[in-house]
């Protein structure tokens, strides 16, 4: 049954406290665990008042409390940052350097200045095509994936019988190998021998109407939507899982309060769920956009970038340049132009998020 009928003083938070009890003296003997839960007995120094104290106050008090966090922060960052510097930052900087060289990987690189960039921005027709394709994929995939993912998460974040099975099933595409998935979709879309087409042909034969299945992957206009469909199918489970985790962090009391105020289902989604998961939405938007700009496998396996480069993406082009056409330098240049695009978009998003992302604590950006 789906809906909790009564407020639970010891709802999900109690569980969390129990789970933590073995390791956590601070949260272990408390049942507070969350803000906006004024009726709960709060532990130790926390009172209902502190819980509702504005962020600004608590932040500034906290700062006074620990003046030496600069060094502490560095220590926390160290394990990640050391590895990050060596295995992520150095190669990234090396790729920037490479973009000013001609390098076929076999003989030593040759410095060519900005030639690769000039070529890309002036004479390279293929680049214009892949740029358009990539924008097409980004503006279609990102919003659809977020919407479907949230919808699924909300639908599956409930106590319906068999919900665990559904959650498993909806996650299956994420774990299925892209090779198998792409094959099935090819077969789905095949005009003569696919199941989708077979159904449409049958319909046409039965009704006598001139219905014909589209020539999905053989037609430049249809191949792009086919890649979008495959990507959505494959990756929506990812969005769903992250949203599911985020929904767990939304205090039930907020819904209870909304209920008391007579909010409809849509209203409690709009005014409780949506703002409460907004940090996650922001995260997913940034990550999905980076992912969509870097779309590669789906097009690589299903359409090989074709027909006539209709599904050739920027990263596919980078792969071709670097490993098929032996032009690592130009591939790196494409990558850095891509970087500038993604960076700009991400930057705009981090600026815009202040208007709609609701953080609980700790900062302004």
């Amino acid at each position: 049954m789906g809906v909790r009928q009564t407020p639970h003083p010891h709802g999900n938070h109690k569980v969390r406290a129990e789970g933590a009890a073995d390791v956590a003296p601070y949260s272990g003997h408390t049942t507070f665990a969350h803000r906006a839960k004024p009726k709960l007995p709060l532990q130790a120094h926390m009172t209902a008042q502190t819980a509702s104290v504005s962020q600004q106050t608590s932040v500034s008090r906290w700062r006074r409390y620990r003046p030496d966090q600069q060094w502490e922060a560095y220590l926390f960052l160290l394990p990640s940052f050391a590895g990050f510097l060596i295995f992520v930052a150095i190669p990234v900087i090396a790729s920037l350097a490479l973009s000013f060289f001609d390098w076929n990987l076999l003989s030593p690189p040759e410095f060519v200045g900005v030639k690769n960039y000039v070529q890309l921005l002036t004479s390279d027709r293929v680049f214009r095509k892949v740029l358009f394709n990539t924008f097409y994929f980004t503006v279609t995939i990102v919003p659809l994936q977020l919407a479907f993912g949230l919808l699924l998460a909300v639908a599956l974040n409930r106590a319906v019988r068999g919900i665990e099975i559904y959650r498993l099933i909806y996650f299956m595409p994420v774990v299925t190998t892209i090779v198998a998935a792409a094959l099935v979709f090819q077969w789905f879309f095949n005009r003569d021998f696919g199941i989708l087409a077979a159904a449409i042909w049958e319909l046409g034969a039965k009704t006598g109407l001139p219905i014909r299945p589209p020539d999905w992957l053989n037609d430049p206009d249809w191949a792009k939507p086919a890649v979008v469909v495959l990507t959505l199918w494959k990756n929506t489970g990812f969005t769903m899982v992250i949203y599911l985790a985020a929904l767990q962090g939304v205090p039930r009391e907020l819904y209870d309060a909304a209920k008391v105020d007579g909010a409809s289902g849509w209203q409690s989604f709009r005014y409780v769920t949506f703002p409460m998961v907004s940090p996650t939405t922001f995260f997913l938007m940034v990550i999905q956009m980076i992912g969509a700009f870097q779309l590669f496998s789906e097009a690589f396996v299903m359409t090989r970038g074709g027909p006539a480069q209709a599904t050739l993406t920027i990263v596919f082009y980078i792969y071709q340049m670097a490993f098929e056409f032996s032009r690592m330098g130009k591939g790196a240049a494409v990558a850095w132009v891509l970087f500038i695009f993604i960076f700009l978009f991400t930057f705009i998003q981090t600026r815009l998020q202040r208007r709609w992302v609701h953080y609980e604590a700790g900062g302004e950006s």
Partner: protein
């Protein structure tokens, strides 16, 4: 649509549930179809694979495909290699990422936002162009064809830092404060306050890091040379030949490869939705 809304009577309730079930089942079929095809193909003889009309039920059922797949390469060895690498990477990544995410979400210091932007920015450079510099680094470290090459470079992820930072920032600051007033150090707060409250997101992250490492192909291909270090995806890729692909073996191998990821998912799923499973059904 949300679960937490008020519902008047049981009748409306059941009808709605029925509708939801119908929609969910329809979606399930769509979601499962490719997997079903994969399973079916893994049990078909080669001439049965691409027939028209398409069939989902193999006839005859060729269990031998699984035997052939496992025998075609040192499958057990690859499997254990993959497991070792994926578990190590997952553990290390969650450890390093949660520490730095804590610093990004909870500590206040100069350069925090700029440093975070640098982390984020590295996600924007596709792997295809950093692979060669990374490989040269691996050669320089004398790690070619070792587990270090498979594990260490992939143990640091800006993605994980970002995900955890977003989640940590949603945890009330008052909790840290209370702990600090009790004299807890930041490390203690990370271990005893933040991490225990982040079960759902850590579970989700575990799945994705494990999955990513388990399915990683190009990097393991490039840095390994011997069967002692090769992983499952590299082994499976060899079924796709220049002219012929052994679909039945490829799919059988893929099905076997899927199992650990599903296991991790099932274990983790309990965690990231435990609130529901324990308290939700009680509402009945």
């Amino acid at each position: 649509m949300t679960t937490r809304t008020a519902v008047d009577g049981r009748a409306a309730f059941d009808a709605r549930n029925l509708l939801i079930h119908a929609a969910l089942i329809f979606g399930s079929v769509v979601m499962l179809l490719p997997f079903g095809w994969m399973l079916a193909t893994s049990l078909k003889a080669p001439p049965q694979i691409f027939t028209y009309p398409p069939t989902l039920i193999p006839n005859p059922v060729v269990w031998q495909n699984y035997v052939d797949t496992v025998r075609a390469m040192p499958f057990g060895r690859f499997y254990l290699n993959s497991l070792f690498v994926a578990v190590s990477v997952t553990t290390l990544q969650i450890l390093t990422a949660s520490l730095s995410a804590f610093a990004f979400a909870r500590l206040r210091y100069r350069g925090r936002e700029a440093l975070f932007l640098v982390y984020l920015a590295t996600l924007m450079i596709p792997f295809q162009v950093t692979m060669i510099p990374n490989f040269i680094l691996i050669r320089y470290l004398r790690w070619y064809d070792t587990f270090y090459a498979l594990i260490v470079p992939t143990a640091f992820s800006a993605f994980a830092v970002f995900l955890l930072r977003q989640y940590f920032r949603g945890i009330p600051v008052e909790l840290d404060e209370a702990a600090r007033m009790d004299g807890a150090s930041s490390l203690r707060i990370w271990a005893r306050v933040i991490m225990p409250l982040s079960g759902p997101v850590l579970a989700a992250l575990t799945i994705f890091v494990f999955l990513g490492s388990w399915n990683d192909f190009l990097w393991p291909l490039v840095v390994t040379n011997s069967n002692a270090t090769r992983t499952i995806p590299v082994g499976l890729a060899s079924f796709q030949g220049q002219f012929n692909t052994d679909w039945h073996l490829l799919m059988a191998g893929s099905v076997i490869a899927l199992l650990p990821v599903l296991l991790v998912y099932i274990l983790a799923q309990k965690r990231f939705v435990e609130g529901i499973t324990l308290s939700g059904m009680g509402g009945r």
